[in-house]
């Protein structure tokens, strides 16, 4: 599992193309938001901007990690290797998570600089909320990217598959971010964080168990 993770990360950092493209995309989406929101509204909408941007940019990034292997034919090599299929899922999930975390850091900087949310007063809590949200998103997107990559209309299909099931993450992550950005502690956001954590556990375990069904040839 670690070697798959290492391979994915190595590939990302050697080429840097995915991360660079993802960061530019994140910048562009935030700019699009700032142009379409008035400054006052933009500040209030910061948690929504954060998660909508992460989700839409993230969907493209996650799809790519599967596409790379499919195009190079390395996918079959991976499947033939003596590893548990669930381990492939977990490795992909962590690789996607790390890439998304980089985008998340850039995005948070942009919120402070461009949207004027002000420097977060509770940075640790914000990291915690974002981590919980990202794990859930990453797990769900990784699982369904394994489906969409095999079908022709994959760019359209992945958001279709992920977005309805992502509702708990969208609601809870946005509300928890709103509380934390406003200076509230993790205790104030606890009900949301509990749902997020439960989602993370359920989807990760389900993905780990069901992934095998998606990669049978």
């Amino acid at each position: 599992m670690w070697s798959i993770l290492r391979k994915d990360l190595l590939l990302e950092f050697r080429t840097r193309e995915a991360i660079a493209a993802l960061i530019v995309l994140v910048v562009l989406i935030v700019l699009t938001f700032t142009f379409s929101l008035d400054p006052e509204g933009a500040r209030a909408a910061a948690p929504a901007v954060l998660w909508v941007t992460l989700i839409f940019a993230g969907l493209l990034a996650v799809q790519r990690t599967f596409l790379v292997e499919r195009e190079s034919g390395a996918w079959y090599g991976l499947l033939l290797g003596p590893v548990d299929r669930g381990a492939i899922f977990v490795a992909k999930l962590i690789a996607n998570l790390l890439v998304l975390a980089i985008a998340d850091v850039v995005l948070t900087l942009l919120l402070v600089l461009v949207l004027g949310t002000g420097v977060p007063t509770a940075p640790l809590e914000l990291v915690f909320v974002n981590a919980l949200g990202l794990i859930g998103f990453s797990a769900l997107a990784t699982l369904f990217a394994a489906i969409s990559v095999r079908l022709r209309a994959r760019e359209l299909l992945l958001p279709l598959l992920v977005l309805p099931l992502l509702v708990p993450v969208v609601i809870c992550a946005v509300e928890a971010s709103r509380i934390v950005l406003a200076g509230g502690g993790a205790a104030a956001a606890a009900p949301w964080l509990r749902v997020l954590a439960t989602f993370d556990v359920i989807v990760t375990v389900a993905g780990w168990m069901l992934f095998e069904q998606l990669v049978l040839e």
């Binding site: 769900l140 489906i147 095999r150 022709r152 299909l157 309805p164 509702v167 509300e175 069901l210 069904q213």
Partner: protein, 244 residues
């Protein structure tokens, strides 16, 4: 096939007749027998369609998840067809819920739609299973599509409690613009209870019968494709001109 063979005689003969009789009785109850609700008037009668359609929709989605799990476990295509038929019929009833709800809400709540947890939940469910049908349509030529769809149905059902909790929390944090639904004040009139039971039976029978019809359609479709493949294997001579 053994389970199918056991069900088939009942489903082919008794079920359609029973559904017909129950549906006539249900219509009679709703339009002739049951009295007008005191506060809401005649529009309340849509309740008997709305609630029972919701029951059938949830029944369908639950059945689809169970059949999907069985399919992944046993790899028997019968379960895949059952899951697909259940989702399709469930979607029909879910759409009916989303249509009858606003018709009632407009005169009673004064608005077609409100982001009440139950309404939000229903519309999210509808999108999940709409995607299931899109997935099936898009991957029709992929031999693995049944597995993908099964995974979606299972993850969907696992997700439902979480969606329900987060939607509740979400509404709890915001002021409701329109007064909340008056809650189920409890039905006092015995004729209303009789009507509800009769319509519930009718809708359940209708659901079962539609699932059965669709299930048989899918089975015949698969058999036809298998026959076509046989014909092709025989040297590709055009026999009859069978087109799907």
């Amino acid at each position: 096939m053994t389970i199918r063979a056991r069900i088939a005689p009942v489903a082919e003969t008794v079920l359609p007749g029973l559904t017909f009789v129950a549906m006539i009785a249900a219509l009679g109850c709703v339009f002739l027998y049951v009295p007008n609700e005191r506060m809401q008037g005649a529009v309340q009668r849509i309740f008997y369609f709305h609630v029972n359609a919701a029951w059938s929709a949830f029944f369908g989605f639950g059945l689809a998840a169970a059949a999907s799990a069985l399919f992944l476990w046993r790899t028997d295509e019968t379960y895949d067809r059952l899951a697909r038929a259940a989702v399709e019929v469930g979607m029909l009833f879910c759409t009916m819920v989303l249509v009858t709800g606003p018709i009632w809400a407009r005169p009673i709540w004064g608005t077609w739609w409100t982001w009440d947890p139950r309404l939000t939940m229903t519309v999210i469910l509808w999108t999940i299973y709409a995607v299931y049908l899109v997935l099936r349509a898009m991957g029709e030529d992929d031999p693995q599509i049944a597995r993908y769809a099964a995974v979606l149905a299972i993850v969907g059902v696992l997700d439902v409690p979480l969606i329900m909790i987060s939607v509740r929390l979400w509404r709890g944090m915001h002021p409701s613009v329109i007064s909340a639904p008056a809650g189920q004040g409890g039905i006092q009139d015995s004729r209303m209870i009789v009507t509800l039971v009769v319509t519930l039976v009718a809708f359940t029978l209708l659901f079962l019968w539609l699932v059965w019809r669709r299930f048989e359609d899918l089975r015949l479709e698969d058999e036809l494709h298998a026959l076509e493949d046989d014909v092709d294997a025989l040297g590709g001579r055009a026999v009859g001109g069978v087109t799907p």
